[in-house]
Amino acid sequence: MSAPAIDSVRTTTPKTTGKRSGKAKRTTPARFDTALGWNDRPGTAWALRILLCAIALAVFAGPFLAILSGAFTRNASGSSLSFLPHDSTLQNFTVAGERGIWDYFSNSLVIAGGGLLLQLVVCTLAAYALARHRFRGQALVLTLFMLTMMLPEEVIAIPLSLVLGDVPVVHLDLKGTVWGVILPLGAWGFSVMMLTEFMKDIPDEIEEAARLDGVGELRMLWQIVLPLCKPALGVAGVLGFIMIWDQYLLPLIAAKDPTDYTVTVALSVLRSDPQVGSGVVLAGAVIALVPSLIVYLLLQRSLVTGIAAGATKG
């Protein structure tokens, strides 16, 4: 998923919640709540809406049921894919395990955990400097971070693979290590921009009061600023995780041999293995799916806020 346009998340949230609470109080009929004027009372429109919702569910969520059922079906093949499992078994997961799916999965977890941690730390530090300090060259730095956002990773893939094999100045070979994937993910323009916007809105009085108490820069960030921007950190965290988990080209070019792959890249290894069927690929897909599902379901609110943030202001 690519980064949505930057905007202050903070200004978005109260706006929508304010609208909602205002709406709850108002006594206008519900049919003015939606653009199409949907009605709660049973009738033709109501039935039509339920039917359309069912179709939407079948189209967008149905395939996920097919993954699940296929993963638990014995000898599942592409031709026997269905919404309900039959002849259920854990055999597919056992076979996938024999093909090293758990090693790929642990690669993925290390990369996602390390990458996200690095990304949050790096972007928070940069955002703090950009939001709470004034210095020469500030506009230039902002532009640079914005450029990293516009610069599609795909476009620099080929030279990046050369750089990963021989990092300039220090001449390290990062290929085949998790660092080859983690380090390029560290500076993410989207997080820097969003956190900067958010931190700018912290009142100066709070900072000045803390300074009078003799609070240093690091403590200021850690104890004063960070606790105040938890919502923004949530958005940066969930979008960052989804972005890192979605990486395909980067782990592909950073790998020295297939054992370095992440679980998402490894799916194609499973698929091209003539000795395993679709059921095993689907078991792998389920394993690759679960972490992003958990993150999504737990932090759905932050995710939706983050994506919608780009939409409210031009």
Binding site: D33, S80, P184, Y248
Partner: protein, 303 residues
């Protein structure tokens, strides 16, 4: 994007830091990583695009050779066509479907929230997983998931990915499936901002549902649609993973797009110079597009 970020220096009241080294210490990790893993590769790519890259033999300056070779290569020209068709079709399809979904699922009811959560799943799923899933759904025999549905309707099994005339459209369908829910969320945020009393006023005036959509809803969500379009256009140009996982560019190059072609050139054929030239061209087009769209958007806002 550019318009919304104002430099804090522009806001008064913040005293200039005396210890001017401090902000740079905080910025150092981010700038270093961006420099080494983004800007240096970009510069290196631009550099290599003028060379014939030969490992161990040393690179040879060839001027614009790589560019002319890439731009006159008919497979690249085909790939550019596919990229445009895929990008435009996918973006428009995803916006229309996203809009329909947003209209359908707008509302505060708990059941609607659950449906929205489920419908949004494709947008949070890793692209590689989606690709593997669709490969299986497109299974070419009559008992494949989609083909069994078609069979039920009395239509023969369709070779979604094996038919060169169809593969690009099948890829597009998957792209729409991935991005429609994403657009739905953005458009829905726009819908939430529509003044409800306008709907009421429209009802008083007795306008039809269609007119109400056209004259009240659409103008209100125009900024949201603008953002969706910008993002989709940039995404469309650089599309890689979807195609690479689903078809690998085949059959017979019928789904080859710009980046899959550059990837093949760079990693399979070891033509680093040519691949770099292709990447530089794509980068320039992307930047040009971003700047143009931003220009028109800020001009539109100023009006």
């Amino acid at each position: 994007m550019t318009a919304t970020v104002t430099s804090p220096a522009a806001r008064g009241g913040r005293r200039p830091t005396k210890k001017s080294l401090v902000p740079w210490l905080f910025l150092a990790p981010g700038l270093l990583l961006a420099l080494v893993f983004k800007f240096w590769p970009m510069a290196k790519g631009a550099w290599l695009s003028f060379y014939d890259v030969r490992p161990f033999l040393g690179d040879k300056w060839t001027g614009l050779d790589n560019y002319t070779r890439v731009l006159t290569d008919h497979r690249f020209q085909d790939a550019i066509g596919h990229t445009l068709v895929l990008g435009i079709g996918q973006s428009l399809g995803a916006i229309v479907l996203g809009f329909v979904l947003a209209l359908l699922l707008e509302g505060q009811a708990r059941s609607l929230k659950i449906v929205r959560t489920a419908v949004f799943l494709p947008a949070v799923t890793a692209t590689a997983v989606v690709g593997e899933l669709w490969r299986l759904m497109y299974y070419p025999t009559s008992d494949g998931l989609i083909n069994s549905g078609l069979d039920f309707l009395g239509l023969g099994p369709v070779q979604f990915l094996d038919n060169p005339d169809l593969a690009l459209w099948s890829t597009m369908a998957m792209g729409i499936w991935i991005w429609a829910p994403y657009n739905m969320v953005i458009i829905m945020a726009g819908l939430a901002g529509v003044d409800r009393s306008l709907y009421e006023a429209a009802a008083m005036d007795g306008v039809s549902l269609w007119q109400r959509l056209r004259h009240v809803t659409l103008p209100a969500i125009r900024p949201a649609v603008g953002i969706v379009l910008t993002l989709a256009a940039i995404r469309g140009l650089r599309v890689f993973t979807e195609v690479y996982v689903l078809t690998g560019g085949g059959p017979a190059g019928s789904t080859e797009v710009w980046m899959t072609r550059a990837y093949t050139l760079g990693f399979t054929r070891n033509d680093i110079g040519g691949a770099s030239a292709a990447s530089v061209v794509l980068l320039c087009v992307t930047l040009l597009l971003t700047v143009t769209v931003n220009y028109f958007r800020t001009r539109g806002d100023a009006r």
